[in-house]
């Protein structure tokens, strides 16, 4: 992985703590609300537009691409499906960490003060989660494509495309410090919802039909 480690600057306590709140308030001279709001809204619009394009692009690729019915599978698992189910389960666990750490950062647990490492935990567990989903998504898109044969499959296809669009949008918003305060929780919540739905419609379905196989 080539991600440089931004957490090396650990001394800053909770660098992203409630990111929009602290950064916009401190950088933009306290009270002047309109200017940051406007630029932030523009940034949010750009982010959501790009995210939408990503989602639609994935869906179009999945639909137009002739399902190959073959894909390189991952060593160590009995089948490609088992590998996918477990990778997705790993991402599912990490996304629970995401939810918990985000709630701590936003002070949703009364009496719990955000420790200094919570931002790093949130960022790195999120990166790990999304990287775990990539092999699964590539297999889905390449070998199976966008399918609508049953409600479960249709939901899974829709959420799969939505997930990466929401992911790109959230990363772009993070890149724009002046975004509206609600944008990160909303996008994060969308990501959480999408990943949980993806996990329920694939891994849980697989485990209930095939058993807990590796």
């Amino acid at each position: 992985m080539t991600i440089p480690n931004p957490e090396q600057r650990a001394p800053i306590a909770t660098p992203f703590a409630p990111p929009p709140a602290s950064s916009s308030a401190s950088t933009s001279a306290s009270s002047s609300e309109p200017p940051p709001a406007r630029t932030g809204t523009a940034g949010l619009l750009v982010a959501v537009t790009v995210g939408t394009l990503v989602s639609v692009g994935l869906g179009v690729y999945g639909r137009a691409h002739e399902a190959a019915f073959f894909a390189v599978s991952i060593a160590g698992f009995s089948s490609g499906t088992a590998a996918k189910a477990w990778l997705a389960t790993g991402a599912f666990v990490l996304v629970l960490v995401q939810l918990g750490s985000a709630m701590v950062m936003y002070g949703r647990f009364p009496g719990v003060r955000a420790p200094s490492w919570i931002g790093g935990l949130h960022r790195w567990s999120g990166r790990a989660a999304v990287l775990l989903t990539v092999p699964v998504a590539v297999h889905c898109l390449y070998a199976l494509g966008f399918q609508d044969g049953s409600p479960r499959v249709l939901l899974h296809s829709l959420f799969g495309c939505f997930f990466y669009g929401a992911f790109v949008a959230k990363m772009l918003v993070l890149n724009r410090p002046g975004s509206p305060r609600w944008s990160l929780p909303v996008l994060g919540g969308a990501l959480f919802t999408a990943l949980v739905a993806l996990w329920l419609t694939s891994s849980l379905w697989f485990f209930t039909t095939s058993g807990l196989t590796f």
């Binding site: 440089p4 002739e66 190959a68 019915f69 073959f70 089948s79 990166r127 044969g149 499959v153």
Partner: protein, 229 residues
């Protein structure tokens, strides 16, 4: 640096995704040999081989690729000892075929019809070579390391070749059926596990479900893509 960390995350995810996609594309079991380029693009008109009377186009005897003797037809038949059933569909110089024993052996193939010469290939050395006319196709079929002569006759729906696909599980499920003389033979491939196909009603291709899983079933024609890539 911190400002660009989210972008780097996106870039890493995109790079990993693209790399995996490339591995898949390059690792495909049957690399696409441009059939479209090999197929005769010109002359889609049905040129029946047995057209009587003065040859309509007397010369041009040596085009690099002979025009297909038959524009569109389907054949179904068996190997000499009834080891495998063979179905071939031809359309505009392209040909696809399915060979199976109804139990454990199957192969999907594609290739070309040049003049009256069929030549198709599939994964793991599967091949069909033969000649065609309006009534029959004769030749040899190689599958699972064995080779047999085959004889197949021209058939009309509901006889012929059917393919069912389901994208739900893993590498998906796929079923091939050959309907011939009121009987049918097929193999169901569930992510590499081969077994006999369930019964297909060729008159009703909508709403085929197998073990609660919906399959989309089509009658295969010669220009369908049946070999994965």
């Amino acid at each position: 640096m911190k400002r660009y960390a989210p972008l780097l995350t996106v870039a890493s995810v995109a790079a990993l995704g693209l790399a995996l996609l490339m591995v898949n594309v390059n690792g495909d079991p049957a690399p696409r040999q441009e059939v479209a380029a090999a197929a005769p693009v010109a002359d889609p008109a049905p040129t029946t081989a047995l057209a009587p009377g003065p040859a309509p186009e007397p010369v041009v005897e040596e085009p690099a690729v002979a025009p297909p003797a038959i524009a569109e037809i389907a054949y179904a038949g068996r190997s000499s000892g009834n080891e495998v059933t063979v179905a071939i569909a031809v359309k505009d110089g392209r040909a696809v075929a399915y060979v199976c024993d109804g139990k454990k052996i199957e192969a999907w193939l594609d290739g070309t019809l040049e003049g009256d010469q069929l030549s198709l290939q599939g994964a793991d050395g599967a091949a069909v070579t033969g000649t065609v006319d309006e009534a029959k196709s004769l030749g040899s079929v190689s599958v699972a390391g064995k080779q047999w002569p085959y004889a197949a006759k021209g058939v009309q729906a509901p006889e012929g070749l059917y393919e069912g696909r389901s994208g739900v599980d893993e590498v998906a499920e796929r079923i091939g059926w050959i309907v011939l003389d009121g009987t049918q033979v097929g193999v169901r491939n569930a992510g590499g596990n081969l077994g006999p196909a369930p019964r297909l009603d060729p008159e009703d291709l909508d709403g085929v479900t197998v073990d609660g899983v919906r399959f989309s079933v089509t009658a295969v024609t010669g220009d369908d893509q049946v070999v994965g890539r």
